[in-house]
Subunit: 293 residues, 2 copies
DNA sequence: AAAGTCTTGACACAACTTAGACAGTAGGCT
DNA sequence: AGCCTACTGTCTAAGTTGTGTCAAGACTTT
């Protein structure tokens, strides 16, 4: 899905990366990189990917890495100076997002994807970063606008990932949040993990009325409904019957419900904890159990 | 149904696209494009489709793509079968989304991107589809869950586009919605168009408190703030001073404000209509005006 | 008749190419 | 210190390519 078509002239690359055209040619001569396409007449035509690579390399050089090593590091796709752990990446991501620097955020994330499996990135970088920012907001160290910017940006990233890995063949699930819930990220992460686990997932966004969920589940043949709950909602106020009648299996994951798992049980649903990996593992036996009856 | 009828003389095309007639002829000679119909006497007659194509190509060139490559890219994106108009695509998209068939939706959208310039897809496919679904919801022909699914899916698409076209060099803008607004799509489309117009856009998601917007604008050096308003909010209830103090230029676009443009003026902001293309055009003189003072 | 458009050939200039040379820096060795 | 070497970024020079514009003479449209 990447744009490797060569379209940018060397002057354009010079302007965007700040690397002189002479230097770009010299690098190609010396290190064999980048090696852009050529026009029929022999002019260099750099691709979007080349631009990103050069930005990354320049970033490393600015950080003190020798040019030859930076190029080599990029070509090998490995960080020689020890792969940076998710915690570091999460901190850097937080810093970039608080500065509203989405270009750096993008670079950090793409590095994270290269270095770690998707699940790790989502939980230990993205999710952790969001938690830190949320904490900062509670302590008044982060403004609401900063928090909005960061969570909007990361939500977009997650949804991009979700859309990227298209439909599967497994049983169909519906994912939303409990009514009244405003925080969407938890449900989005759940949807992502479930889709990656092979389910066919329909993600509905936050705050879908329970009655509508039911008809939607019937229409799409959903075998289970997953609802996320982060805010400490008064669970008692939810209609019990609605939850019960929704679908063969009803599941609730999320932080808010952790205080009182029994409350969920009393509503006729199952509480599957706060960890999306746990959710995926515990859901399977539940589905089978429901299928046997 | 098609727009391929040749109706525009070369002078009209020159005026609309800003490309000189000599250049248009030269492109035809060199790249074989555009190849408009001819009058009985041999004069070129360009079609609406040609105009859109030229606008797209010009946009790519402005973005740094070499002219020959821009034309080539356009021609390669066109090699598919008979192009379906945006209206048809919007209808097919609506149908797919109501069926919660995101795979088909994805296919329709990627076809739309191939066949039409981005602006057209966003306005005449995505936006139009959302409007149809919204109308259906008001008429109880579409359930809330279906509406949620569709708007969540399309929001993800839009945000993916927004993230895809990274930062620019132009003046910095903040985009959010009026406080209390729940519909996010309008602001997202505005953010997308503004970024595409060359601005550096920070998208904050919906519903950011005005006070926080202000400090965020100062921190990021934003030269203007764009707020979308779709719901018929009681504008009078907003604090006037807050709006005034926000930034050099404060702008409000969206459907809700159309009823009473003066109300916006009284708050110290400018109302720039409901059309994102209009927004982009009207914003530039406002920015300059503010810059001169 | 005036204004606009056609084709073809030509032109100017910016941008690009290659190959080689050069100067500054950093580190190792005597 | 002094010297050597490797590395790096910049520069020069001569030739090629890409791109926009123009001119001349014939034809079309209004």
């Amino acid at each position: 899905m990447r744009n490797d078509l060569g379209v940018y002239t060397i002057a354009e690359v010079e302007e965007r990366t700040g690397l002189s055209s002479a230097l770009l040619r010299q690098w190609e001569r010396r290190y064999g990189f980048p090696r852009p396409e050529r026009s029929p007449g022999g002019h260099r035509l750099y691709s979007e990917t080349d631009l990103e690579a050069l930005a990354q390399i320049k970033h490393w050089i600015a950080g003190g890495v020798a040019p030859a090593q930076a190029v080599k590091r990029y070509l090998e796709g490995l960080t020689q100076e020890g792969p940076r752990p998710p915690e570091t990446l999460a901190l850097e991501l937080e810093e970039a997002l608080l500065r509203a620097d989405s270009e750096t955020a993008e670079r950090i994330l793409s590095e994270a994807y290269r270095l770690h499996p998707l699940e790790t990135v989502v939980i230990e970088v993205i999710s952790s970063c969001l938690r830190q920012i949320g904490d900062g907001w509670h302590l008044d160290r982060v403004t609401t606008a900063q928090e909005h910017f960061a969570s909007t940006y990361l939500r977009g990233t997650l949804q991009g990932l979700f859309n990227l890995m298209g439909g599967s063949l497994g049983p169909t699930l519906l994912v939303s949040t409990l009514p009244g819930e405003l925080h969407e990220i938890g449900s989005l992460i759940a949807a992502l993990f479930l889709r990656r686990a092979g389910y066919t997932v329909h993600y509905l966004g936050p705050n879908t009325p329970l009655a509508d969920l039911r008809s939607f589940a019937e229409r799409t043949g959903a075998r289970a409904i997953v609802l996320s709950a982060i805010q400490p909602i008064s669970l008692e106020s939810l209609p019990r019957l609605a939850l019960l009648g929704l679908a063969p299996v009803v599941v609730v994951g999320g932080r808010a419900a952790a205080d009182d798992p029994d409350a969920i049980k009393r509503l006729g649903a199952h509480y599957l904890g706060n960890d999306p990996r746990e959710l995926v593992e515990k859901l399977m036996p539940l589905m089978q159990e429901a299928g046997l009856r």
